[in-house]
């Protein structure tokens, strides 16, 4: 079994074997720095153009060797998910394991092939290094250990979510996506590296890292608690938020961003409505302040303001002109994206903290602004952008040329209209997709087939609607044409609408990124349709102010002037939401908090304007 027997007595002459080595050339190490292996884990270099300062390297560092340093002058943009921080390494602690390289979401960090590094100054400080692309102390060595596909510790792929197949969803308004199961949610939550980019980018600064962590820990209630710190529209935002958080997510630098929106939805759905109400009411004032606040408009901005103020013990009344509260979240978003019962659940929570909502009351006609001013300590106008703009192209005044917001409102309200067998939609935003997909569903159930054409000015590279909206709309049979400029709504001799003609758009934006379309006159097309729906911009109906107040108020480029806290030029009036900042639910929520805080300060200062 063995090479040498235990009984072997050996030889006294054997060692002379070593004499043969006398003739060998001695091994000499060169004085120059030796370049290590291609994979060598030497010293850090960090590509500052790629690094986003997410500090994930710091979190994985097993020796607490990494300190984050703020560097003025570097890009610092929460919306883009970039911080002006970069990691510095303490080489008294680093053990060169390279985990920072393998986990780096951006792959900006690498290690070099530098073997030995000594400093002329024998001071400890010189071993505290801010790695940049130029190597340590400006001695650049080739890259050694750097990110490779098989060594990546970041999970770049999102958990798939079950959703209805196009054929089964295209004739009804049932919710499309199933939402995560608990298992899926935990796995998806585990992809998060807790960098907080989402928090910084969120208009209302939702505590996403905290609620993602809670979901990962299996504690959905804690997740809900974290959500209600900043967002009483968590059901809504869990489904239809524009999720800037996911745009900023550092995992999204190279892979699918963490599905933060769906995680929010998961946690909200996982906790019973009753329990959500209890959690939301935590911290509610146990006194009645005696102050009264009127809020015009029951959309996210108005109701968020109401929620905060009611929790602070004030008497809040919300006036809504339509039959039900919710504003655009109810009358603008189709039910297949946001089921009404989930919206109702959010609103129930808000009501449960004491907010009074009065529907079917139109301010301006039923009650005047002047009356509100007299009856309340503060008034908030949060009426949103409920009027659709028209292209005003020739023929656009035909009765079968409609505005998307009007139709969406009718669909929600259950008001009937003749569903056209074919329809052309002008516009390329999410609202255009909403109306196109809603009508496609109605066509499918009435006529068994879909004939919806969407014509958008923008090309697909600059499209306004979310990619998934475009994808799903197509799956449902909607034809989407990009780079088409509306020319004319064609009306035949009998006054019947034939359809829309469009021109090809050669280019749409100038070098500054501003709109400057150039049309191809030769490329003219007629899209047949018994109805043309205009789905471009939206605006506010500000007639409620009346002439006098309109004149008294200050305006800024057509919009009511308000500072970032919603304070208008009139002391008792605040404004919030889409009408100030443009359409976005989560912005409206953020606005609501700011306005509520501003009103709170105002009320506490005791400067009552009800003299």
């Amino acid at each position: 079994m063995s090479d040498i027997s235990y009984k072997d007595k050996g030889s006294i002459l054997g060692p002379f074997k070593s004499l043969s080595f006398f003739s060998r050339k001695p091994v000499t190490e060169p004085f120059e720095p030796r370049i290590a292996a291609d994979n060598y884990r030497g010293f850090h270099v960090n590509d500052w153009d790629v690094c986003i300062g997410c500090s994930t390297c710091q979190k994985v560092c097993d020796n607490a060797a990494i300190t984050m340093i703020k560097i003025p002058g570097l890009p610092d943009d929460p919306v883009m998910g970039i911080r002006n921080e970069r990691p510095a390494i303490d080489y008294g602690r680093c053990c060169w394991c390279g985990l920072c390289v393998d986990i780096c979401p951006t792959s900006s960090i690498s290690l070099t092939q530098e073997y030995v590094h000594t400093c002329r100054e024998n001071e400890l400080d010189s071993y505290f290094i801010l790695p940049d692309p130029n190597g340590m102390h400006n001695k650049l060595f080739p890259k050694g250990w750097s990110k490779t596909g098989d060594a990546d510790l970041v999970d770049l792929e999102r958990q798939p979510m079950a959703e209805m197949e196009p054929q089964s969803r295209s004739d009804n308004f049932d919710e499309i996506v199933d939402g995560f199961t608990k298992q899926q949610a935990i796995i998806e939550a585990s992809r998060c590296v807790q960098c907080g980019m989402c928090h910084d980018s969120c208009p209302t600064n939702m505590h996403a890292p905290e609620y993602i962590r809670a979901i990962w820990e299996g504690d959905a209630e804690e997740a809900v608690r974290q959500m209600y710190r900043t967002n009483p529209f968590s059901h809504v935002c869990g489904r239809v938020c524009t999720h800037r958080c996911e745009t900023a997510c550092s995992i999204g630098r190279r892979g699918d961003p963490v599905a933060i929106r769906w995680l929010k939805r998961y946690a909200m759905d996982a906790v019973s409505d009753e329990r959500v109400r209890e959690i939301a009411a935590e911290g509610k004032a146990d006194f009645v302040s005696g102050k009264k606040i009127a809020i015009i408009g029951s959309g996210p901005a108005g109701l968020t303001t109401a929620f905060d103020l009611a929790k602070n013990g004030h008497a809040v009344t919300v006036y809504e002109a339509l039959h039900k509260p919710g504003g655009m979240t109810r009358y603008g978003i189709p039910e297949y994206r946001l089921p009404y019962d989930r919206l109702d659940a959010d609103i129930d929570v808000i009501k449960s903290v004491g907010v009074r909502i009065e529907c079917n009351v139109r301010i301006g006609s039923d009650i005047t602004m002047e009356q509100l001013r007299q009856d309340f300590d503060a008034v908030v106008v949060a009426i949103g952008l409920q009027q659709g703009r028209s292209t005003r192209i020739p023929g656009s005044d035909h009765e079968q040329v409609r505005a998307s917001v009007d139709l969406l409102r009718m669909i929600t309200a259950g008001e009937s209209f003749d569903v056209p067998e074919s329809v052309v939609v002008i516009g390329g935003g999410n609202v255009a997709m909403d109306i196109a997909r809603s009508l496609a569903r109605m066509q499918k159930s009435q006529y068994g087939k879909v004939a919806v054409t969407v014509s958008a000015l923008e090309d697909f590279d600059h499209f306004l609607a979310d990619p998934e909206e475009v994808k799903e709309a197509r799956e449902e049979g909607v034809v989407i044409l990009d780079s088409r400029g509306p020319k004319e709504c064609v009306i035949d001799k009998n006054g019947k609408l034939e359809g829309l003609t469009t021109l090809g758009v050669i280019s749409i934006f100038d070098d500054d990124g501003r709109f400057a379309p150039s049309y191809d006159e030769v490329d003219e097309q007629l899209h047949h349709g018994g109805m043309v729906i205009e789905s471009i911009g939206q605006m506010s109906d500000i007639s409620l102010f009346g002439e006098e107040l309109t004149e008294e108020l200050e305006w800024n480029r057509g919009r009511l002037q308000a500072d970032e806290d919603g304070v208008t030029s009139v002391s008792w009036l605040w404004s919030a939401g889409d009408m100030v900042h443009g359409p976005d639910v989560v912005h409206a929520v953020a606005d609501g908090h700011r306005v509520a805080a501003s009103i709170e300060t105002y009320l506490n200062e005791g400067s009552s304007n009800n003299e």
Partner: protein, 172 residues
Amino acid sequence: MSEHAEGHSASYERIKSKKSLAEILEVATSFEQKAFEFYTDLIPKVSKNLRWLVEELAVEEQEHFALFTNLAKDPSIEEQVKQQIQTPVEDRRFSDYIQLPDLGDNIDDQAILQYAMGREDAAMKQYRELSDTTEPGAIHDLFEFLANEETKHKQELEKLYYELIHSGGPGN
């Protein structure tokens, strides 16, 4: 549609009959002045939230007006005009398909913009036509220059129109 643009219906004939640069500039300047006066008159008539737009347009016309005045004063006008027309601006024809409004009682921001675009469009076409019908030389160059200027103005308005009317953002 140029007929609708205020003060421009007869201007083509008027300019055509002029022979010297100074004369032509004089007529053009008076067009711009009229436009400025038109917007200034409009300011108090529109609702307060729309005033900014009319005010901006008035300022814009005032700038045109100043431009023409300065050109007339400048002795090196021929040289300057030559340099400016090296890169002709292309017309993109966006506003062609927007109906000109009847600026009646219910004036809104969109109507004002439409009107303004139509006015710039008419002026642009006019100068372009004049440049096409004149022999190469200083006068031809001047029309070319003026057409370019009006095209640029129109395009600025088109951008504003898109931002105000077409994109209220992607929405929800």
